[in-house]
Amino acid sequence: MYFYSSLGYLLWILSIKLGTGDLAKYPFLNEASNYIRDTHFDFEELNRPEIEHIIYRAAKKIDVEITKGIIYEELEKYEVEILTFLITLIMVKSIGLELVLKKHSLLEAIRAEKFLIEDLKREKNQQKRRLLLFKIFEDLFKFKVDIDSENHQLFKVKVTDYLERAVQFHEQEWKLINRLVHKGYVYLDADETVRLIRSELSTLIYNRVKSMTFSSLPKAIKSRVDELSIKFKPMYEVRRIYTTTDYPPCIKHALDVMAIGENLSHSGRVMLATYMLAIGKSVEEVSALFHKAPDYNEETTRYQVEHLAGSRGSRIKYSVPSCKKLLNENLCFATEKCNGIINPIQFGRNK
């Protein structure tokens, strides 16, 4: 077991530094932001001709991610990677499509995940491995990961830290019972450990974009953004129109129940409201669906729908419950048309 006094640990962390190669792979680290700040990089400099190839590269990266749904594998030197990262964020922000932002954030996280797994598996220097764990897990996400003292290819994380993250995964292998658990720690290999932070990494990138503010776009970037916007907008509009016209049987059943003024269970109401919100209906439209419910109260209904929409309370938009969950709650009325979907929101998409 490794043990550091908090002062000793701090001194140790301060004594070693990340290399430039690390900043290329992990441009979201605070050190990468410091690099931009230290070089006094100005927004206007993005119009300079020598930056053009980086802007081209950033646009290509986004295009590959959004149209092909895969990560951009190419890794350049750190100056290029840090600027590419910054420019992709500006571009994604300017495109202004939520689904593009979400997809980019996720794929950027998966890209970093790939590099991190390689580093944790191949790096022989234990100090360097510990530094990476500290900088990425602890510094960014307050998630402490240690290297197992007996088997250096294994990592140990606190049971509670593990549970908070692993509950997002539906595969049975992530259930605590299928893990090696001992004295409050879960033991994982590099792939599993890094997988645990995908969602947090993705959220970190998403929030970076969301919090960006700039008054005008440099010309060199604007033309690329316009091209990408024209390409992406139809891709995300088609899906929305389709799903609103063809409801899955569980939703049809819930609508029928509401239409004749019968009582729909709480879970049924949550399913109906989250589904309608997910296909783009407004809070007003969704609230109106419940007006025939025997216990209808305009104010309460609106409050609850706003909660599900993420505009109240925890500010988290609720997802549509999975088919498995609906089956358990007797809300599933699957037909052949459902054809193996795992969430009602997927109904009809594969036609």
């Binding site: 088997n151 290819q153 294994l154 606190k158 049971v159 509670t160 549970l163 908070e164 692993a166 509950v167 049975q172 292998e173 259930k175 605590l176 019972i177 299928n178 893990r179 090696l180 658990v181 001992h182 004295k183 409050g184 720690y185 033991y187 994982l188 290999d189 409050y303 609850q304 909660h307 309370g313």
Partner: protein, 381 residues
């Protein structure tokens, strides 16, 4: 709440016993940690639940106890920003992790020998299980049980098994584990380790699954499905601890037993058959807790030191589980004699006294009288 509908006189006896308890034993009432962030609730004899109450200190709780003489008093496991607001506006901050081990979940073989089925409609008591009342043909039957020594012994063993898993696997320190007798037929295990407070329902469900031995995969001990049925590849993290160790011990294998495990799977008939048997083995080794209790992060729990109206016994902290005797240590009502009508044959041990009762009129000490009224097996004369 008290089983069936007690007579007015019986109810008055119970209330008077409860009042006396709250006057005499106010020191037993345990103030929960972060009291001002909790929601409290209580049931009153013959009426509904009062919820969303806030107390700032134990003195305020005691004032309500002696004024209203509630039948049952509850406190939330959760901490809220606004505990007195309606549920959706309380703003959840975290919740204690609590486990419930109840004799009803243990399916004990002795259970039918001390269970009673009471018709809510006509009050008829039967000692054999029946869906319909043989006297008035209604289906409104309440089941009640008088725990025997075997029940208590098995419950305590189950609590010990739970604590082994909590400390050995989940790393919860002994001083963060508090054991309480529930005041009726079970034990509550409270975890005060703040690391667990932040966990939501799903994470708690995963802990419950772990403790109960649910959802185990044969792959976790190295048996994998392959083109030729199955093959063995032990996990990188090994079999040295936790469930993997328990399973390895049960099967008599170790990280070097590829051939032995392979033979074992073949003998069972292959991957699917081995999987089915392993799932059953692990469930049998798991702890029998009530999953709903642990998963619910907005639940109200009986408050420590208060009385349980299903028995008149106290929810009481067990500092030493081995020596704790709930039918003695949690039986704290007075012993003034009461004239009673016993409605069924009952064998009962309370406060070191053994009561062998048949259908008869008799005099009983207050604690035994209240216990039998609460169980629906006797009335005050």
């Amino acid at each position: 709440m008290i089983n069936t509908n007690p007579t007015e006189k019986s109810l008055s006896i119970v209330k008077s016993a409860f009042r006396e308890y709250y006057f005499k034993h106010s020191k037993n009432i345990e103030a929960p940690l972060r009291i001002e962030e909790r929601e409290f609730g209580y049931m009153q004899f013959g009426s509904g639940m009062v919820r969303h109450i806030v107390f700032r200190n134990v003195g305020e709780i005691l004032a309500v106890l002696v004024r209203d003489i509630p039948s049952d008093v509850y406190c939330s496991n959760a901490y809220y920003v606004f505990p007195s607001y309606p549920m959706q506006e309380k703003q959840w901050k975290g919740a204690d992790l609590i486990f419930d081990i109840d004799s009803k979940d243990l399916c004990l073989s002795c259970e039918p020998t001390h269970s009673y089925f009471i018709c809510i409609n006509c009050g008829k008591i039967s000692e054999s299980k029946s869906e319909i009342c043989l006297s008035c043909n209604t289906r409104r039957i309440n089941r009640t049980s008088i725990p025997c020594n075997k029940c208590i012994h098995t419950l305590k063993k189950e609590v010990e098994r739970l604590i082994d898993l909590l400390s050995g696997d989940l790393g919860i320190k002994e001083d963060a584990i508090q054991i309480y007798f529930s005041g009726n037929n079970g034990f509550h295990v409270h975890i005060s380790d703040t690391e667990f407070h932040k966990l939501g329902s799903q994470a708690r469900a995963d802990i419950v699954g772990y403790l109960m031995g649910n959802s185990v995969m044969v792959e976790s001990i190295g048996v994998r499905k392959g083109p030729e049925g199955f093959f063995i590849k032990f996990p990188k993290s090994g079999l040295a601890y936790g469930w993997r160790k328990r399973i390895a011990c049960e099967l008599g294998i170790s990280q070097s037993s590829i051939l032995k495990l392979s033979k074992m799977v073949q003998q069972k008939g292959g991957y699917d058959e081995f999987r089915t048997e392993l799932i059953k083995t692990v469930r049998d080794l798991g702890v029998r807790i009530d999953p709903h209790v642990t998963i619910d992060i907005h639940r109200v729990f009986r408050m420590a030191g208060t009385l349980n109206s299903k028995s008149g016994l106290t929810k009481k902290r067990c500092h030493d589980l081995k020596s704790f005797d709930p039918l003695n240590d949690a039986c704290l009502l007075g012993d003034k004699e009461i004239d009673m009508e016993i409605k069924a044959r009952v064998k009962l041990r309370l406060k070191g006294q053994i009561f062998n009762l048949k259908k008869q009129n008799t005099r009983l000490p207050m604690y035994a009288a209240v216990y039998l009224i609460c169980k629906g097996l006797a009335s005050a004369n």
